[in-house]
Structures are given as C-alpha cells and as structure tokens.
C-alpha cells in the first residue's frame, strides 16, 4: 500500500479523498491556490503546499507544479479527483514519467475516451449502441446543417473534448443552428482549449442512466450497478440516485454487460463510468465514458457498501478486486443532491460570496460530503458546488423523505443556493412516482418555481423582530404560555450566572 498520496484537487472531492486515505493509514498532501488557503482540504490533509496564484490555469491545472510538489515531498501516487487534470492524458503521462502512480486509467485510455467522436466509433466497432449523429468534429456550418437535416431535428451540439454540459446546445430548427454552433464552439474553446463540436440526434424524454465499473490490472472488470442522473439543469446533474426505478434485473444485466464491453474496448483500468441515455422505448445508447471518479459516486457507495476511493487506491497498487455480483443486488436506495451557490430564479447563474453562517444537517440516513466551512468564500474561479448531501433509505421513499428533511434542516447564509429548488423537485409528484427525464425541470417549470409555503405572517414577524432589534440582542417571550414575564427574566439571570 502507498505511504503518501498527493491529491491534485480542491473542495469536497479533495477532502473526501483525504478521508479515505486516513481510513487506510495513508498520509496525504494537499495543494492549494491562494484563495483556498482557508478551505477544509488544506486543514485536514497531513501536509499542504501552496501552488501560488488563483486561476485554475495557474494552480490546479498546472500539472508541472503539482508533480514537482509530489516529488519534493515524497508522494508515491497522485489522485486527480474529478475535473481539473482528472481526464488529462498528458498529466497522467507526465506523472508516470516522473515515477508517480496516477490513480486512474492509462493515458491511452483517457485519450481514447476523451475524444467523444473517437469513443463513439470505438463503441460502434464493439457493438455498444450509440446515438445517431455525426461521428466526427464538424468542419463547417454547412456540414452541420446537412448532418442535422439527415438525422432530423431536434439535434444536440456537443463539445468533442467536453463533459459536464459545457459547450452543449439544443437546436430545434435550422434557423437556430449557426449562432448555437458559434456559441458552443466558443464555450468549448474556453473550457477545454478545444473548440471542436459534433452533432447528434436529440432523444425525447430520455433518462440519463450510467454504470459504475471497476477494472483491475489482473484483467477483472465488474460493474457496480447503475445511477440515474436524469434531473439536470443547464445540462448538469443536480439530483442522482441508485438504483434507478426504471431498470429491471434483465435490462440492468444487458446494460451492465455493455458497460463492461465498453471498458474492455479501451483496455480500461481503475474506476470509470459509462453514461447511457435510455429512451422511453427502453432502448439505451452509449453517451460517453468518464475515465475518473464521478461527482455522484457516493450513491453507489451507499447501496454497495464499498468505498470507491479506497477501491481506486487498491487497484492502483496492483491489488485484484474481489467482488462478485455486487452489481445485481443493492442495500436499499440512495439519493444525492448537489448544493450549488446559484440563483435559481435567474436561470441558475452562479451566486458567489462568503458563507456567513453554516450549520449542515445530520441524523439518521444522512451523509454529507462538504468542501467548505463557515467563513469560506464561493469564488468565481472554480465550480460553484458547495456540498453534496446524500441520503440513504431502506427504499426510495424513505431516502427521498430523509433528503427533504435534511435539506430543510440545512442552514447556510450569505449566498443564494439551490436548496429550496431541490426541495420542490423532491416533493413533486412526478419525481415521487419516478417519472424522470433529462427535461424534467423544463417540463415542470411552472410548479418548480412556485412560492414558499411557510406562514407569511411568521416570516413577516421574523423580519420585523430582526428590524426592531437590530442593535441589541433580545430574548422576549410574550406571557400567554408562561407563568409571568418575571420568571423569564429570572431564568435569563440564572443562565448568565451559570456560564
């Protein structure tokens, strides 16, 4: 087993990896940008070294700086988390050349699956179904128009190097295509340094179902069941669950086998995810492969009992995976909500700022993977995700009810978050009955942006009492439910003395 690992990431995922390392008795090195000095991942690592600078390019994307720190301080391996350098083949190669173990697949697998068009071709060659569309990056507006005509509107434009909804556009008719293509291309360039865009058939009411796989260096490949991630806004997942209500054992086996085929097709090593779209006729199509840990991996952990980060580390150490049929039977049901700093009413735009008050939820069935502390700042420089709340229940209903309870308990002030919006989704009849699709939020827009339900009189009174007592700390109880006002003052006096 490794003695020391450098974690080339920040936020909740860095802290989450540190925790798994501690549980294995492995020392950890954190790296940090200037504005992350006060972030939890820096405090909870055994060692921490500054990267110097603030932008992603100067810090968490600067592979050379990170490799140098790893070598200087005796790390044997690097865990890239997700995002940043996690799917950067050059970094994986540089790390290996520097004598470090990259905790992930080979640079060749990353490259192969990193190009969405190349990945599609490979899948087709290996009999994994793909969505109809152009196989390669579009060369011109004319080609895009012709291709769209061939497969039929609506179509989806997607970044070749992309993921996470960046550089993605839905186009309903030929008139919209030229400007959508330009804007997607610009976004792709800025996010991935590659402006290539491809086109594909847009599926109606599709579900996003993905399979978690593990592959070791002894040739074993297993799947750990699926996650349904259909609830998305701006093409980004916000609620994920495992298992999916729509899969039966037969379909799960069929998709699981396809996932293993996909992994084998690129000689995959370590943890990876095969994303599929499932249409209403229960046809599934390969979407892409994420050659890294997913944001939503905790729901799989809760229903399989595995620690996926520990599995990653063991595989990277050369150990063989010793799992059998974990992909078929699950322990209850798990749901994850991503808590984002964003302004839901304003098209989910990021809402940066300082967290002035934070008291997370806890209690039965609740796990939190958070990357922030009270006083931390959600900046513009990185992803605006604050925390992941994960609920487990013996069935889906219990998991969802526990999640709603936890979201209502969660207290965070200073910035706008999507917590109220998440609660409205979870309470929506269509969500409760499991009628999900990637267009869920658009379909149910009118009910999801409804007004709050707490008594307006109580809310009004809260504002008034704060207003009246802005300058002093008061504690007042009207006398109806209590013996006399006097006893209240006595009580306060007593409390002061006992402090």
């Amino acid at each position: 087993m490794f003695k020391k690992i450098l974690i080339a990431n920040r936020g909740e995922i860095a802290l989450r990896i540190i925790r798994s390392c501690k549980d294995l008795g492995i020392k950890t090195i954190a790296v940090y940008s200037d504005i992350d000095r006060s972030s939890p991942h820096v405090q909870f690592a055994d060692e921490a070294y500054p990267l110097g600078g603030t932008t992603s390019a100067e810090t968490y994307l600067d592979g050379n700086k990170i490799i140098r720190i790893a070598k200087d301080h005796g790390a044997e391996a690097v865990h890239p988390g997700y995002g940043f350098l996690a799917e950067n083949a050059a970094f994986a190669r540089d790390a290996q050349n520097a004598g470090l173990v990259f905790i992930g697949p080979s640079p060749e697998s990353i490259e192969l699956m990193g190009s969405k068009t190349a990945a599609r071709s490979l899948m087709e060659k290996h009999g994994v179904p793909t969505i109809p569309g152009s196989k390669k990056a579009l060369q011109s507006e004319e080609e895009a128009l012709a291709e769209a005509q061939r497969i039929g509107y609506p179509v989806l434009l997607k970044a070749s190097a992309g993921g996470g909804g960046k550089g993605m556009r839905l186009v309903e008719n030929p008139g919209e295509l030229p400007s959508a293509l330009q804007s997607a291309s610009r976004e792709a360039q800025s996010a991935f340094g590659d402006s290539s865009i491809y086109i594909e058939k847009y599926l109606e009411q599709p579900r996003h179902i993905e399979f978690q796989i593990l592959a070791d260096s002894h040739g074993n490949v297993v799947y750990l069941g699926e996650r349904e991630c259909s609830i998305q806004r701006r093409h980004q997942k916000i609620i994920e669950e495992a298992p999916s209500v729509v899969l039966d054992s037969e379909l799960r086996k069929k998709m699981g086998r396809a996932a293993i085929q996909a992994a084998k097709a690129c000689n995959y090593l370590n943890a990876g995810t095969i994303e599929f779209m499932l249409d209403k006729h229960r046809n599934f199509y390969f979407l892409e492969m994420n050659t890294r840990l997913q944001v939503e991996h905790p729901v799989t952990e809760l229903v399989t009992g595995l620690d996926l980060v520990q599995e990653q580390i063991r595989i990277a150490c050369g150990e063989a995976i010793s799992l059998s049929s974990v992909g078929e039977r699950f322990w209850g049901h798990a749901v994850e909500c991503r808590i984002y700093a964003e302004d839901v009413e304003n098209n989910f735009t990021p809402s940066p700022g300082k967290i002035t008050y934070l008291k997370p939820a806890d209690g039965p069935g609740i796990r939190e993977d958070s990357g922030v502390m009270q006083g931390n700042e959600i900046s513009l420089y990185y992803d605006p995700m604050i925390s992941k709340l994960i609920a487990w229940g013996k069935d889906r209903e219990q998991a969802v009810r526990r999640m709603i309870r936890a979201l209502k308990e969660y207290q965070l002030s200073g910035i706008k978050t999507n917590i109220p919006f998440l609660i409205r989704i979870l309470q929506h009849p269509a969500f409760i009955s499991g009628e999900l699709s990637t267009t869920f939020i658009d379909e149910h827009r009118s009910e999801l942006f409804k007004q709050p339900v707490t008594s307006p009189e109580a809310i009004g009174l809260m504002a008034l009492l704060k207003h009246i007592n802005r300058q002093r700390r008061i504690s007042y109880r009207s006398d109806k439910n209590h013996k006399t006002p006097t006893s209240q003052w006595k009580m306060l006096g007593r409390m002061k003395h006992s402090r």
Binding site: S183, R186, P350, Y357, L380, G460, L461, M462, L465, N481
Partner: protein, 169 residues
C-alpha cells in the same frame, strides 16, 4: 408604531408597542410569540406554539429570511416613511430608461448589439462568462440601445453597468 412588511407582492401590517414589546397583526390580534437569538444571525421563533428556526440577514436595506429550506426577501417600512414614500412616488414619473447591470462578476465574451439598435423582448444583448459557463444577458422588454459601457474581453464586477436601454413606446 405600525410597521408594514412586504414579502414578494404582499403586505402585512404589524403594530408594535415599545413599552411592553407586544405585537398585534393586521386583524388587531395580539401575537403570542417568543423570539430568541441562537447566535450568528440564527433565531428561534415560537409563534402560537409553532416553532421555527430561521436565519435572518440584512440585504440591500431589507431582510433575507431562510426558514425550512426556503429563502424569502422582505422589506419593512414604518408608518412615517411609508407616507413620505407615497408622496414622493406620486410626484415622480416612471423611468423609461434602464441600465442593465452585471448580475454576476465575469468576462464579457461577446456583445451582440450596438447603440441605436431597436430590440424585441428577450433579444440577446451580450454574453458573460463566469465559472466557465456562458450566460446570455437578454433585453427585459422592447427597447432601444442607448449606451454600451463595456467591451468584449473586459472583466466586470457584479452590478457594474453594462448597457443602457430606453423602453419603447
């Protein structure tokens, strides 16, 4: 003293007595309440036996209240200021000019309009990139572009003026 609390589009009137701290609502019913600060802007309110834990913060002269996972904004006026405001409003005309400000800090990646353009509602004005996402800023109503304060490639702060529009008609 009477206070008017505005929550979204609705108004609630409360009467507060400085002497005995009693508060009654708009139906002149005295409210049975118990209010304790738990610390850091976090409060406990028990109103007619119903218990609420809330976080109240000041925001743009009003208040933001977080309760039961919901966030609500409220503004408060007392009798005197309200009377004054009504007078001022009655003598002012509605402004036909509007300055579009940056809703978030970010980078202006593209400007789609120029001064003098006549626009329909929801026409794209400019693209603002923040946290790696491109955000389209759109026209709030039918209007004419009066002034553009920023350039493509420029970094802007939150609330920095971007474009001045004049309402049509």
């Amino acid at each position: 003293m009477k206070y008017i609390v505005k929550i979204q589009d609705r108004k609630y009137t409360f009467d507060y007595s400085e002497n005995d701290k009693k508060i009654s609502n708009q139906n002149n019913e005295p409210l049975d309440y118990d209010w304790v600060e738990l610390g850091n802007g976090c409060f406990s309110l028990i109103l007619n036996g119903n218990s609420y834990i809330c976080h109240v913060s000041e925001q743009n002269g009003g208040y933001q209240i977080m309760v039961d996972g919901e966030v609500v904004s409220a503004t408060i006026e007392d009798e005197q200021s309200l009377t004054l405001n009504k007078f001022v409003k009655a003598h002012a005309k509605e402004p036909s000019e509007q300055v579009i400000k940056a809703p978030i800090p970010g980078l202006v990646t593209r400007i789609f309009v120029q001064a003098g353009d006549k626009l329909k509602k929801d026409a794209s004005l400019l693209a603002l990139e923040a946290m790696k996402m491109e955000n389209l800023i759109k026209a709030p109503c039918e209007c004419t572009v009066e002034k553009i304060f920023v350039k493509s490639g420029q970094t802007v702060q939150q609330n920095q003026p971007l474009i001045q529009l004049k309402k049509s008609g």
